[in-house]
């Protein structure tokens, strides 16, 4: 028993203390958080825009006329192509296409990765949001319009806040998935948390410690995220008693 414990301690020192290898994990963690954070924001912006376009087309295209109808038809078509392509291909392939093809001349891998993950997440957020918008009673929309709000104002002040509340659990799911998906960033030369753990493994020829450490850090991140969203959910629920 004590021999086993001694061995564990030795392994720990070898993998994390020697050569300050814990700093690799810390830097990797920072990279993962940076990419995930900005990708989430980008994903929300794209997702809300696509969801509003898609649901307003589905619900109102019979009422649209002339130029606005033509513009909306084009936007809706682009949105549908975007959803099909992004959801139909693996994120790691999208990431590599972004880095090695579209932005082949860029050396800023972190920015390209953030863009790739954000664009990817946007497609899923869009469908989550669309379901949220569709779930709001159409009377809410009519009440907003009859007060004199235009379409966008009604969406912004009345529909989206309610939709957001309804889809928060599903959104949280997507954020968790995104955070973990960033673990493929190593494919495009980025040293994120996963890659950092793997680098340690390559240096120390010991797999257990670095990989378990990486797993635990992801777990802690996801638990913290879940807790945060749960708190937000409870705050938004003050209006239904």
């Amino acid at each position: 028993m004590s021999a086993w414990f001694e061995d564990l301690k030795e392994q720990f020192i070898l993998n994390f203390i020697e050569g300050d290898r814990w700093k690799w994990l810390l830097d990797g963690l920072k990279m993962t958080l940076h990419i995930a954070f900005f990708a989430v924001i980008l994903g929300i912006v794209i997702g809300v825009a696509v969801a509003v376009i898609r649901s307003s087309w589905d619900q109102n295209n019979h009422k649209m006329h002339g130029l606005s109808r033509a513009v909306m038809a084009v936007l809706n078509f682009i949105s549908k192509v975007y959803l099909t392509v992004i959801r139909g291909t693996p994120v790691v392939v999208q990431l590599m296409i972004m880095y090695y093809v579209i932005f082949a001349s860029s050396t800023n891998a972190r920015m390209v990765a953030t863009l790739a993950f954000g664009i990817n997440s946007g497609a899923y957020v869009a469908e989550i949001f669309r379901s949220g918008i569709m779930s709001i009673d159409k009377g809410q929309f009519e009440a907003g319009r009859s007060l004199g709000f235009n379409y966008i104002q009604t969406m912004w002040y009345i529909i989206v806040p309610q939709a957001l509340k309804n889809v928060l659990p599903a959104l949280c799911n997507e954020f968790i998935a995104l955070l973990k998906e960033t673990s493929v960033a190593g494919y495009v030369t980025i040293t994120d948390l996963t890659r950092a753990g793997d680098l340690i493994r390559g240096r120390t020829f010991s797999a257990f410690m670095p990989l378990i450490a990486v797993a635990l850090i992801y777990l802690a991140l996801v638990m913290a995220l879940t807790w945060l969203v749960g708190k937000l959910e409870r705050r938004l629920r003050t209006s239904d008693h």
């Binding site: 009422k63 006329h65 002339g66 009673d137 009377g139 809410q140 009519e142 009440a143 907003g144 319009r145 009859s146 007060l147 004199g148 709000f149 235009n150 104002q153 002040y157 009345i158 806040p161 309610q162 509340k165 938004l236 003050t238 209006s239 239904d240 008693h241």
Partner: protein
């Protein structure tokens, strides 16, 4: 914008209004005038087109053909900014449609603040005054889910009034209420009528029609089958369908 009505007392003029839902002709040519300060009650069987007619008045439903002149402006014209005219037409719905994520006060101030550009202080003072009038000042900071149906509808009415509308449209305002709450809502509407508000009311409350209306309109099969002052309407109906209808509801 055209001002082509000579009579300044006419607030809403409806000309040959038709409305199709696909192959179904819901409205088959409605023409009428609603004068300032008039209370018009619309009755009819379900499916007659009465709610659709009311909802076309502020273009929540888009008519297939015909014109609606509101304050002299043809609001069915595609070049008219309907949002500006809707501010002047308060709407009260059967299902209240309060905004559940906002307090009562916020429900009442969001329109005046965002659309009429009133300051928060001014909008809130006015909202509190209106809430006081319907006996709900103490519920200003509650959420809609904490109110009874009758309270919700009273809030919905004053929310519309906070925009200072020139006409109030009521779409079966008491149909979703428990019977004991119908009275409190009708009372608010009755007071509103006394104050001279122009009102168009779709309802099944024949007592309200008889006491408050200046004119009662019977819509049947997408047209105005009969209209008259309440006295004649209820005691001396002409149209066979109206006779049948009244024999069922009175």
């Amino acid at each position: 914008m055209t001002t082509n009505n000579a009579n300044n007392n006419v607030l809403i003029q409806v000309k040959d209004l038709t409305m199709d839902f696909g192959d179904v002709h819901v409205l088959k040519g409605i023409s009428t005038e609603i004068k300032k300060g008039e209370v018009v009650v619309i009755v009819g069987a379900s499916g007659s087109g009465k709610s659709t007619f009311l909802r076309t008045l502020n273009l929540l439903e888009e008519p297939t053909s015909g014109q609606i002149l509101f304050e002299g402006v043809d609001i069915t014209d595609k070049n008219v900014n309907i949002n500006l005219h809707r501010q002047k037409m308060g709407t009260v719905f059967q299902q209240f449609n309060l905004f559940p994520h906002m307090t009562i006060l916020k429900n009442m101030t969001i329109g005046p603040m965002k659309l009429l550009k009133k300051s928060q202080e001014e909008a809130e003072a006015e909202a509190m005054e209106l809430l006081g009038r319907v006996g709900l000042a103490d519920r200003a900071n509650a959420y809609p889910s904490q109110l009874s149906g009758g309270q919700k509808q009273r809030v919905a009415i004053v929310r519309a009034l906070a925009m200072h509308p020139d006409v109030m449209l009521f779409d079966e305002p008491t149909s979703a209420l428990d019977p004991e709450m119908v009275g409190e809502v009708l009372e608010v509407m009755q007071n509103l009528a006394k104050e001279g508000m122009t009102m168009v009311v779709v309802t099944h409350e024949m007592g309200f029609a008889r006491e408050v209306a200046d004119r009662v309109m019977f819509i049947h099969d997408g047209i105005i089958a009969e209209e008259n002052d309440p006295q004649s309407f209820f005691t001396n109906p002409q149209h066979p369908r109206l006779k049948e209808f009244l024999s069922k509801v009175l």
